[in-house]
């Protein structure tokens, strides 16, 4: 579980996060949604420790990451997995080497155990036969899957994803969504996903948090999002005819 309390972050005069309180539960896919510039990415980077928050606390199963010693922070980082928007795969390494990298750097396992673990993760994302290819030789969807394999290779407790579906076709996006949900449940991890893809929200949103101007303005799940009349949600989610129709159907079903 990740507990965020009163998180604030500014860049010079620009207050990006203005006191965000939220709890992300274990074994759930937690989605952060919001318009561009709402503070989603900064929020995620604060959780990851890539940005130092000005105020507030971030508790990883009760451990405040902002009060940790350097060594403890290093240990915590090995419990985090991250899927970057563009994959952030190391260009000079093959797909297999990318997945092996965290293991070789941190795992106290024999060479054969390391190889087995990497192969397991690659086959889990259905890329068992792509190990020898370089990132430049694979598609965007495959890059995302390699990135997921690399993120889970050290058995993380917490998985973070920044726009995992951006730049993907709808079918591949659904595959990535389902993969993230399956992995979250299978390994019982706390997953936090930054997205503005409404298909993802409807497909896998166990817990959805809407950020607006650096504040949490709504939270609920994918079923509640269809029922709510909160203008923050309706203005943000139900802007297209497709989603208006979905909401209409959901309302009719409720009656």
């Amino acid at each position: 579980m990740i507990e965020v309390r009163g998180l604030e972050k500014s860049f010079d005069d620009n207050n990006v996060l203005k006191g965000v309180d939220v709890v992300f539960k274990k074994g759930k896919t937690n989605l952060i949604i919001g318009r561009s510039g709402s503070g989603k990415t900064v929020f995620l980077k604060c959780l990851l420790g890539l940005h130092l928050a000005d105020k507030g606390s971030i508790l990883y199963d009760g451990r405040d990451s902002r009060l940790m010693e350097r060594k403890e922070q290093g240990k915590l980082r090995q419990e985090l997995g991250m899927v970057f928007q563009g994959g952030a795969l190391f260009d000079s390494l093959t797909v297999r080497e990318n997945v092996l990298f965290p293991l070789q750097m941190f795992a106290d396992l024999s060479q054969s155990e390391i190889m087995d673990r990497a192969e397991f993760c690659l086959s889990r994302v259905k890329l068992g036969d792509a190990g020898e290819r370089y990132p430049a030789e694979i598609s965007g969807g495959m890059k995302k899957r390699v990135s997921i394999a690399r993120a889970i290779v050290l058995n993380p407790k917490y998985l973070f994803c920044d726009e995992p579906n951006s730049g993907l076709d709808p079918m591949t996006a659904v595959i990535i969504d389902n993969l993230l949900k399956e992995i979250t449940e299978e390994f019982d991890i706390t997953t936090v996903i930054n997205t503005h893809d409404m298909n993802s929200v409807m497909e896998i949103g166990d817990h959805i948090v809407l950020l607006k101007d650096g504040r949490k303005v709504w939270e609920g799940n994918r079923f509640e999002i269809l029922q709510t009349e909160d203008p923050n949600i309706t203005d943000f989610v139900f802007t297209s005819e497709l989603f208006k129709t979905i909401k209409g159907v959901a309302k009719a079903g409720r009656k």
Binding site: G49, L50, K75, M82, F90, Q104, M105, F106
Partner: protein
């Protein structure tokens, strides 16, 4: 800078990275250094011969002048400037691309000390391998002079060899190699700084690469003056 010298997460991974950098920054520069040194050595000999075309001056003075020019200045300084262009742009653009494609952030999230893992092996590889490149350059520069002198008939091989031996001071070689180590540190650390701190996209990576080459070249020239003044000027 302080983060460069923290304890490695796993020493074997840093060693592997160091070996890779020796390959990228060192071996890959051998060909360009060899070609430039050979031809510049030849040109230095021919031009010196033309300027010393006087019956009172013995021909072996041409070899002495060639030797001193190559050992004291051409090999350590000019080759370092060439390496500032080749290696400096390579380092800045590689790190810059890693920065804008979030590969450095990926290392940070994993808990890897990214400056130490990415920059330290480059600095060490250059500081260790550049003196070897400069020794090679000295040898090939002098060889180029020998061949050009012989082919043009401006100096005979026995005179050239005699000139090389006359008044030779091994201290100059040590001095030049020491300079090279300082230059290697300047080139790699300045270029790494510009690459590592890139913000933006492809345009900024290109700009960082250019700044890295210009700044490290100027730093090499200034350091060359200071070292020469301090070591040889007194």
């Amino acid at each position: 800078m302080g983060r460069l010298f923290h304890k490695p997460e796993r020493f074997s991974m840093y060693r592997k990275s160091f070996a890779k950098e020796i390959d990228y920054l060192g071996y890959d520069s051998v060909a360009i250094v060899a070609i430039i040194s050979l031809f510049v050595g030849a040109v230095v000999t021919i031009q010196t011969a033309l300027n010393l075309d006087n019956p009172i001056i013995p021909a072996y003075y041409i070899a002495i002048a060639t030797r001193e020019s190559i050992i004291l200045e051409f090999s350590p300084t000019m080759i370092s400037l060439i390496l500032a262009g080749k290696v400096g742009s390579n380092i800045a653009s590689t790190l810059g691309t890693m920065r804008v494609s979030e590969q450095i952030e990926a290392l940070d999230v994993m808990g890897i000390n990214s400056p130490a893992y990415l920059i330290l092996p480059k600095i060490l590889a250059s500081m260790i391998f550049n003196p070897i490149l400069i020794l090679l350059s000295m040898f090939l520069g002098i060889l180029g002079g020998y061949i050009a002198g012989d082919l043009s008939g401006m100096i005979t091989p026995p005179d050239y060899v005699l000139g090389l031996q006359l008044g030779f001071r091994p201290y100059y070689v040590a001095y030049s190699l020491s300079k090279t180590v300082v230059f290697a540190f300047l080139i790699t650390s300045i270029s790494a700084y510009y690459g590592f701190t890139v913000k933006g996209g492809a345009v900024e990576v290109g700009a960082a690469s250019t700044k890295a080459v210009v700044t490290s070249s100027v730093a090499v020239i200034i350091a060359n003056y200071i070292i020469t003044q301090v070591v040889l000027g007194n």
